[in-house]
Amino acid sequence: MTNKLHVRKGRFAITCFGRSLLGLALTGFLFSANAGVLPEDRADALYFRYDGGGVVIDGPSVLVRKSIGEHVSVSANHYIDMVSSASIDVETSASPYVDERTQSSLSVDFLHGKSMYTLGYVNSDESDYLAKTMFAGISHDMFGDLTTISFGYKRGENEVFRNLKDPNTGVVANDPNFAETMETQSFNVSISQIITKNLVVTGQYEVITDEGFLRSPYRSYRFFTPDLTSQGLLPEQYPNTRSSNAGSFRAKYFLPYRAAIDTMYRFYTDTWGILGHTAELGYVHPLGKWIFEARARYYTQEAADFYQDIFPRANYANFMARDKELATYSAVTAGLGATYEFKIERFPWLAKGSLNLRYDFMTVAYDDFRDATFSIGSFGTPPANPLPPGQEPLYELEANIIQFYISAFF
């Protein structure tokens, strides 16, 4: 391949999208049920669509959970991401692209007395990122089943590649001279406690360590040229390790008129210098065959130590990043959901079914990430009236998130 062209700067945002799902799927598997009871048999089919910041991600996800006897429950999930991206990173340094990621997972729960043992495996496959994750966990009910304590561990081994586009043929393929690896481990402990006949609380603590290639193979940092009037771009430089600590507290309260209110707070810190706070408030209200839900979420963080929107000069420091997810910003998300529950007399094996629709609106306001299209331009076309680097308006992101899913309980 000659005249290779990097077409997918900003790709890592999607890669992170995928990797994060691994952890979350794991969390769901490990903590979706109390230790002394097998999870209920169910099947879910979901269609989702995320549209924001020039990125559209949509696709299906199917989850099936089935008991085998009285002591074993098996869960399988298949998930497909279809990505069409013209994000701010792509806009300033490359051309739009489309891609697809598939993820399959399988987990088994073993119930023994008041303990639940979980083993699972997740495989994620996309054109420039392969991830294999195994996880194990144990949960145990005690104190008359008022308390559930859980421990979880996961280990992931990932392979990172870089896609290149041949400008003559348009064919996209892996760069034969680029292949990296990354390993991640997670340790998780959780305690769920019934406080009163209307109140349950949960505390959770998780340590995650990463080692290997942690940056995007596509994204660049920008810097002032010596005359301070123009800018240049060079590949980001990241540390090879990252360790994070996150602690969260949740509470859910049953209201006197059959409704529920819940709240969550999470504190986060890591060795990159990011300090994050998350707060959430939710309300669930059943009405006949309907269940309505409203939710609000606030998130804020301080930037990583090696993040800057524009560096004073090239090679300014050992580590340099311009990933907006490492910047200082705050985000608000508000969502509404509706569930309609039904039974079908002709299908006595179907205990219950439900149709579900959920909509969330997310807005993110960055404190130190500027919209560089005002100085660099979009997709190679310079702006008509370019602004000086470092004086562009701050970037803001808005996203619409829609989910529709059908659930069946057996």
């Binding site: 998130y299 963080q301 998300t333």
Partner: protein
């Protein structure tokens, strides 16, 4: 030496506690907690997707599991 003493004391307290603490919310008092609306994550397939949207847009990660919730009764 002091640490070992504290550990022994802690284990003794825990052991005593295990044998003497009585469940203060009896199983027959957990009707509200057993209501499906009291589960932290009513639909894992939906919450997993939404959580990973958040994680992909945020520097923070981890400790987002539902942590059980619900009844806690067999």
């Amino acid at each position: 030496m002091r640490i070992r003493g504290l550990m022994i004391l802690g284990l003794a307290v825990l052991a005593t506690g295990c044998s003497s603490i009585e469940p203060w919310v009896k199983p027959y008092d957990r009707e509200n907690l057993a209501d499906p609306i009291m589960v932290f994550t009513r639909a894992p397939i939906s919450q997993d997707f939404l959580d990973h949207v958040f994680e992909s847009r945020e520097g923070s990660r981890g400790a987002t599991g539902g942590g059980g919730g619900g009844c806690g009764c067999n």
